[in-house]
Symmetry: C2
Subunit: 410 residues, 2 copies
């Protein structure tokens, strides 16, 4: 008889995983990248260059460069962050991580204990919200408008918490192409945010993983760059600009907190080859690659927007995002996006339902998040047609049936 | 004025890291691999093959293969584990991890809560002991003899714990080339261990990361293979056989516990390129590469043994290990290896002091662990000469001064 592990699993553990099966044909989730946007030839050349020159470094857990990761990649980041985000830092301020997801876990691990309080945008990255739930942390969600986190609401929340004697551990924000709303916080509001953070003695945790992907190529300075008191922890990633399966992200932080984060990175370093290849590739190609990728993404967004307009008409409301890889869509109030998700899945369409990406479970009930970087233009068009059909059948909206006509002709 | 993060760090957090500096010239720690033993050309070819054929998979966090990792590498492991460890499993039983260190963290995370009890060998991998300490777990250490963990002591410990109502969460063991003693548990003792584990309802956590490195190429079947009740969790690594900076390890486990481990792997997958390259490389070269590596390691061991004999004479006692990358040395009782470590470090020699690798702080006081895979033969000879000189100056042993004479002549 098979041994029963169940009684040994601690109370409060996450639910067991179910066996993986390939996602539906039309996958609008998970934030994957565009396979056709990958410079495979240049990545191969970079891998060859790095391995032929420095391959023997791989025999050392830390590439003979210590626990913060491959130094040339950190040096590239120093230049890149200065140019793009106006961040002044050195390679010693940077820790390379296994994607920015490990960055989230490390920063949370360094600062959060059960019962602590954090502040974040009310609509927020699902992985961030799940992490807080698992750690038993109280989350105060701040409403957003088209300029990102609302400062009047933040000030009220900070004041209310202070009155009750609660000092939040940090304000988590995705200020540049917020996930899922794609808002960008302008420089003036960033100043206000920094001032409030300083007034209340609360540091800022800035997640900048989409910041390279504005259509204009413009972005405000990072909060990390604007802070005068080193009260910001900044994380970023190469997943969105190069390839997520390389699993390379980074933390930029003052040593006073980076020194508390490092002991929590118990994996003896992140993948060395991937760091070496990325350093070689990015030095030569990053600056030209990213604008090309933005164009690809915006073209897919335009296909998505056209498909939504065609299939959903006025039933799908959204702001045209200034960048990123996802669209935050409002459907009519009668639509329950959790139910829509299940029904669409059965029809091969995978979407993120609003309530999984928001602290406002009621307000996000009729919302969905659609990722557009990975599916092809055809998959976007077909998937949205199928989704509209499912939605109409289930909820009576959209009332038009362009999808049916189109599918007959296809 | 800089923001002060210190008051926000939870009580009980690890001590802050100190700035990294390059290790001493003679580094006998950290378990790094032999840079000259790396097949750089073949690894390059494998990277090219994998990238040219399947590079676009990198645009998907999970390589379109789900959360358990690149399937061809898991398929290779199925064959390898059957051939070498007599394990019968499928790719669905394997989770690829960021080195076996992430394996340790994931298995611990799935089973351990503060106040729990685990059993392990009394002399044990430092990283394992540190992990238990950080989790607030009670550890019962079982003495070893030349055949590994002693079964009489294990039985006594299990019975004693049962009497007090404590069911240990698991018995952690490195049965094949134990770290640091390099003992190998024979098949008969493995049977006894499995019988005791079954009798007491305690699963086994088998860490097999050195099992490929026996000089003879022979090894007993894995505990995982011998178990009749699926009560074993098995972890392994490519760090010792290929390259540690690739950060690829694996967990083999029944689904009843693997399904509880998977939700704790919150990094959206380990490095995809490294898994792809390894699959391609291992399929073609693993079987021929590992015997060559063993020869390299044994030659270095022989240099280390000769140097110890020459420099320390009878003051250094040890059993010639049947495999691995480390030697567990006993010095005279007058030597405090913690102090020796500090003094040697100042002279450029880095060693692991016994008490950091043992639960028996007093018995291991005069012991040290010397890793021999990474330093060159010359570094081994010179480093041991310097170490002997430091030890003699500090503790009066070894009494001979071959080192001085040799150094004069050098």
């Amino acid at each position: 008889m098979a041994f029963d592990f169940a009684p040994l699993v601690p109370a409060g553990s996450p639910a067991p995983a179910v066996r993986w099966s390939p996602p539906g044909k039309y996958n609008f989730t998970f934030g994957n990248n565009d396979p056709e946007g990958l410079d495979v030839a240049e990545l191969m050349a970079a891998a060859q260059g790095a391995l032929s020159r420095e391959g023997r470094r791989l025999s050392d857990y830390r590439l003979h460069m210590g626990p913060q990761g491959y130094r040339p990649l950190r040096e590239f980041l120093v230049k890149k962050l200065r140019r793009d985000a106006q961040i002044e830092c050195t390679a010693d301020d940077i820790l390379l991580t296994s994607g920015s997801l490990q960055g989230l876990d490390l920063v949370n691990g360094a600062l959060l204990a059960p019962g602590d309080t954090v502040i974040c945008e009310r609509d927020c990255y699902e992985g961030t919200l799940n992490r807080y739930a698992r750690r038993g942390v109280n989350v105060v969600g701040i409403a957003l408008d088209r300029g990102g986190m609302r400062m009047d609401e933040l000030e009220t929340a900070l004041a209310d918490l202070k009155k009750t004697g609660v000092r939040p551990k940090f304000i988590y924000t995705i200020p540049t192409v917020q996930n899922p709303t794609a808002t960008i916080m302008d420089e003036a509001r960033r100043k206000t945010l920094l001032a409030l953070a300083e007034d209340y003695g609360v540091p800022i945790f800035e997640d900048d993983c989409y910041a390279d992907l504005t259509w204009s190529g413009e972005r405000p300075p990072a909060l990390y760059a604007m802070s005068k008191t080193q009260n910001v922890i900044h994380i970023g990633s190469f997943s969105k600009t190069i390839a997520p399966a390389l699993r390379v992200g980074f933390i930029v932080a003052p040593w006073s907190i980076l020194s508390r984060i490092l002991p929590l990175k118990t994996d003896a370093g992140s993948g060395g080859l991937e760091q070496m290849m990325l350093a070689e590739y990015c030095e030569a190609h990053f600056a030209e690659h990213v604008p090309q990728l933005r164009q690809r993404f915006q073209a897919k967004l335009d296909t998505l927007v056209a498909a939504l307009n065609e299939q959903f008409g006025t039933a799908a409301e959204f702001d045209y995002p200034p960048g990123g890889i996802f669209l935050w869509v409002k459907l009519p109030d009668s639509v329950d996006s959790m139910k829509l998700r299940d029904k669409a899945l059965a029809a091969g369409v995978v979407i993120n339902p609003g309530p999984e990406w928001s602290l406002d479970k009621q307000g996000s009930r009729c919302r969905m998040r659609l990722c557009f970087a990975s599916p092809t233009h055809d998959e976007i068009r077909e998937g949205i047609a199928v989704l509209a059909e499912v939605c109409r059948k289930e909820f009576g909206v959209p009332t038009r049936s362009a999808n049916v006509e189109r599918r007959v002709g296809a």
